[in-house]
């Protein structure tokens, strides 16, 4: 149980820092205490997480139980899948809180009390979400996560867009949670217990006896989590909500929070509800939903000119890649376990990679904001000269997200591409379904180039180009903002160069999540520390990627060409940039971010009716107006047809009764006499006339 004591320690550290930061108004003190405490909690999380995920262990403890009231208990249970996400959380949470320390100074008029407590609550709740194996407490933590992130989104309450984005976020996530609650209530009514294992037992009965209801439950779960993950069209809120909070919080949103939805999909589709022939069609649905959001999300991102909004659209697109991998995995895990394993490992590995480079890119956006007070790509330029580290790390992040070798995005994308295309070889599957999977694979390859294009636009317009003169004097980035970016960039490179280590970790997580026997790791990914071969059936190599061996010729060639240049000894001279022979100010002729890829943007922008589509994404949706028939509205107006008529009749009655015995003494006497006669007659009647 020593693992759990570390987890408790990290919980305690985060709770202490939540409470502390509630009372500290000084930004640097609050930031310092938050980053120290989150560092300690990250260290406490890191050790058990890495130990569990490497040894593929399972640590379980029931903290308390609500047994007399309801069949539910606070079951803390960490398997390899949870541990993988704990690893991600521990890494990103530390980077985010260290980055926020100095970064919040950019928001001069805002108090840190609006930021740190909610950030720490967000950390606590995301740890809770991955550790809990009980659907009731899962929903509690899930809701806590939603609420604390909502407070972060409306951090800048003066901005109208923040309030709008916050409102959309609030409504969308709560509708999604309603679906989740509905699903869990139905599940509870059949299994009579909220714990995941009991629900799995109940569900395996249910899918055979009442398939329609089981499919409905799966539908509810699917809607609930893909809304949170931001899959289009349910993720309409995401590009409005993610850019609003300070960049460090956006970085946690993009890096961890939207990935927790993918965690939940994995957890619910693999462990809570078993994969059977009936539920495998959901693999196809998940994959298609993923492909739609890859395509629309990323092409829409190409048309954006605001850094954080661009990245939010990419968050949508990247979640699509994960869902494509996971969907192929769900569909094929029973048909061809090798293919299913590769796809699932690819999807989950993309989660790991994406959380790293997505946070890195949001932090880069934060650095731009810290320096220039804006993230509009049309207004910033040439920043690599004042913050070279941020520029280089942004380039590394961009190449990683585009999947350029030897960075980490390449490995996971390779697995996703190959597994979705390999479905062509599964001749037992219906042809149309295979075509759908292959088209998904090809779209994802094409969109990979689009991703590269849109991130080169980001790097080119923000970091390259001429630096405006007034920026040069401003202070440099503090180390506390550089260190997280460097760390994350280094991890991007490291996991890209040595893919077998993270692949092994991710494979353990996949095994823990499915709970069915998968092919051995060494038979799926043959290879050594230098790289891996990918097998799609027993002993048949299909693809391979050995980054170390591939890097050797590149290094040799680099050395040869550099020595060639040194040998030539060309003289060097610094000159002005040439603007076409005529003297122009740099500001007059700069090529702004908006101008990039204009012909391509024109090709993907069109109109349907009154709705303008920009990059397949509607930009001006007409406001939705309900015009219900009047009688229908009347039904809801209960005052009108129920309360007021009744009340009116009642008061009329009371008035009438009033007039009967009002004002006149004789009337009272008559009433008294009549009453006493009535009483006497009644008594005589009751006594039966025997007086």
């Amino acid at each position: 149980m020593e693992h759990l004591s570390y987890i408790y320690a990290s919980f305690v550290a985060l709770i202490v820092s939540t409470v502390c930061t509630c009372f500290i108004k000084n930004k640097s003190v609050a930031g310092f205490s938050a980053s120290i405490l989150s560092l300690s909690s990250s260290i406490c999380l890191f050790y058990p997480a890495i130990d569990i995920v490497i040894g593929n262990k399972l640590v379980e403890q029931t903290i308390f139980s609500l047994k007399p009231l309801i069949n539910s208990s606070f079951l803390l249970s960490i398997d390899s899948l949870s541990a993988l996400f704990l690893l991600i959380i521990s890494l990103i949470s530390f980077c985010v809180s260290l980055f926020s320390w100095k970064y919040l100074n950019a928001y001069e008029s805002h108090s840190p009390i609006k930021f740190y407590p909610f950030l720490m609550l967000l950390f606590i709740s995301s740890i809770g979400v991955v550790c809990i194996k009980d659907i009731l407490f899962f929903i509690v933590f899930w809701e806590l996560m939603t609420l604390s992130s909502w407070f972060l989104i409306v951090f800048d309450r003066e901005k109208k867009s923040a309030l709008k984005g916050g409102l959309q976020y609030f409504i969308a996530t709560h509708v999604a949670t309603a679906f989740l609650i509905l699903a869990s209530v139905i599940l509870y009514s059949y299994s009579n217990d909220f714990s995941f294992t009991e629900i799995k037992k109940g569900f395996s009965l249910l899918i055979n006896t009442q398939p329609a209801l089981a499919q409905f439950i799966l539908f509810c779960i699917f809607i609930a989590f893909i809304t949170k993950a931001g899959v289009l069209p349910f993720g309409f809120w995401l590009p409005n909500a993610y850019p609003q909070p300070p960049s460090s919080a956006s970085s946690f949103f993009g890096g961890v929070m939207s990935k927790l939805a993918v965690y939940a999909i994995l957890r619910f589709f693999y462990s809570v509800t078993p994969i059977t022939l009936n539920s495998q069609i959901w693999g196809l649905i998940v994959a298609v939903a993923g492909t739609i959001s890859i395509f629309v999300g990323t092409i829409a991102a190409l048309t954006q000119d605001e850094t954080k909004r661009l990245m939010s659209f990419h968050a949508i697109g990247q979640v699509g890649y994960m869902l494509l991998g996971i969907g192929v995995g769900i569909y094929f895990i029973n048909i061809n376990p090798f293919l299913g394993t590769v796809a699932m490992v690819g999807g989950l590995f993309h989660v790991l990679n994406n959380s790293i480079y997505k946070s890195l890119l949001f932090l880069n956006a934060g650095s731009i904001f810290y320096k220039t007070k804006t993230t509009d790509l049309n207004k910033v330029e040439g920043l690599i000269k004042v913050m070279p580290l941020a520029g280089i790390t942004a380039l590394i992040g961009s190449l990683s997200i585009a999947g350029v070798p030897p960075f980490n995005g390449f490995v996971s994308k390779l697995l996703i591409f190959e597994s979705s295309i390999w479905s062509a070889k599964q001749s037992e599957v219906f042809l149309l379904i295979r075509i759908v999977f292959i088209i998904s694979g090809i779209i994802s390859i094409f969109i990979s180039a689009v991703t590269l294009a849109s991130f080169l636009k980001f790097v080119n317009s923000a970091f390259m180009g001429k630096l405006p003169d007034m920026l040069e004097q401003k202070r440099k980035l503090p180390w506390s903002m550089n260190v997280p970016q460097l760390m994350l960039a280094f991890i991007c490179l490291f996991t890209g160069l040595f893919p077998l280590i993270p692949l092994n970790i991710v494979y353990n997580a996949v095994v823990a999540s499915t709970g069915i026997s998968l092919p051995e790791f060494s038979s799926v990914f043959t290879g050594n520390i230098a790289g891996a071969d990918i097998n799609f059936c027993k002993d048949c190599l299909a693809g391979s990627w050995f980054p170390i061996f591939v890097m050797i010729p590149i290094l040799i060639l680099c050395v040869i060409i550099f020595s060639f240049e040194k040998y030539a000894q060309a003289p060097k001279r610094e000159v002005q940039t040439w603007y076409g022979g005529k003297e122009h100010l740099a500001e007059e002729v700069t090529y702004r971010g908006h101008s990039f890829y204009q012909p391509f943007k024109d090709m993907v922008s069109f109109r349907i009716g009154k709705i303008q589509f920009k990059g397949f994404y509607p930009v001006n949706l007409p406001p939705i107006r309900f015009s219900l028939p009047k009688c229908f509205l009347k039904i809801f107006n209960m005052d009108e047809w129920l309360y007021y008529p009744c009340a009116k009749q009642f008061s009329k009655l009371a008035e009438k009764l009033n007039t009967i015995y009002k004002y006149i003494t004789e009337k009272y006497i008559i009433w008294l006499i009549a009453g006493s006669i009535f009483v006497i007659v009644l008594m005589v009647y009751l006594a039966g006339g025997r007086i």
Partner: protein
């Protein structure tokens, strides 16, 4: 895995793609001059250009470190991509270490290197060129990817060596023939010659991406452009038309060089006889071709 084979075939590939490429460039210049009715430069002129430029003054318009590094990266990545093409045998030297996706992405790196050089140079003309180059790349990359995937589905492996071996032994089937035609139709766009040299259009944007380069950097980027021509012609001749291949590797090299000369001659004819397209026309052409080439995948799924 034969280590000797890897070494000598790597050297052969690098020699053909990097060292012989200025000669082929000289050949195209000669052919173009003959079509235009000029005498033209001697065939070794491109070597003289590169050697002269290597010693010329290096003008730096910016202190950006990426401006200094990325021209060399462009040459290196073309050389790297050449290691994934089978020349001496049916399998390329790097067959065991990377597959078609590595190839697609290394080609991307060539583009990235030039785009970053261009945008680091701070010149607005270079920015226009970079933007156009990226658009061209993202419209033409799917065609090559789809053609290679068609081969992968047919052969049941993602390795280039397996695809070529399957194609060589099983002969051309309908889907592979269609893929081959699509690659041929996109060859000029892959090479970046007229009618698709939109990113370097001399008359419009004064060589676009190359405008601020001088001295060794200019030599490197020019060299990588020449090598790219040889590289993509080799992709067509070696992956999509692998016949004939013998057991003697010297004979294979000679056959390869012959096929390469023929393809470069055809490409030069297209270049000399056509005007330059506008970028939107080029995008439409490429994306239509990409959609059309999806047919080859369906045919491969049906097993024909």
């Amino acid at each position: 895995m034969n280590f000797g084979f890897i070494i000598y075939s790597s050297i052969v590939n690098l020699f053909i793609v990097l060292i012989l490429s200025p000669f082929f460039d000289g050949f195209t210049r000669k052919v173009r001059a003959l079509i235009h009715g000029r005498v033209g430069p001697p065939p070794l002129q491109s070597y003289y250009d590169i050697i002269k430029l290597m010693g010329k003054e290096d003008l730096k318009s910016t202190i950006n470190p990426l401006f200094r590094l990325s021209p060399y990266l462009s040459v290196v990545s073309v050389g790297m991509a050449s290691l994934l093409i089978p020349i001496t045998d049916l399998i390329p030297p790097l067959n065991f270490w990377g597959d078609i996706f590595l190839f697609i992405y290394i080609i991307t790196v060539v583009g990235i290197a030039i785009i970053i050089t261009a945008s680091a140079s701070e010149n607005p003309f270079a920015y226009i060129g970079a933007s156009r180059k990226m658009m061209l790349h993202l419209s033409v990359e799917p065609i090559l990817a789809i053609a290679l995937i068609t081969g992968a589905i047919n052969a049941g492996s993602f390795r280039i060596g397996d695809i070529v071996s399957w194609y060589y032994t099983n002969g051309p089937n309908v889907s592979m023939l269609l893929a081959t035609v699509c690659v041929f139709l996109s060859l000029q766009a892959l090479i970046g010659k007229i009618p698709f040299d939109i990113s370097e259009a001399e008359q419009e944007i004064a060589e676009g991406v190359l405008i601020e380069l001088s001295g060794p950097k200019y030599a490197c980027v020019k060299w990588s452009n020449m090598s790219r021509q040889v590289l993509f012609c080799l992709v067509f001749t070696q992956i999509f038309c692998p016949w004939p291949i013998t057991t003697n590797f010297l004979l294979n090299i000679v056959i390869t060089l012959f096929k390469l000369t023929v393809i470069i001659f055809i490409s030069t004819l297209i270049e000399a006889l056509n005007p330059r397209l506008r970028i939107d026309q080029a995008l439409k052409y490429n994306l239509t071709l990409a959609l059309f080439s999806l047919t080859s995948i369906f045919l491969a799924l049906l097993g024909v």
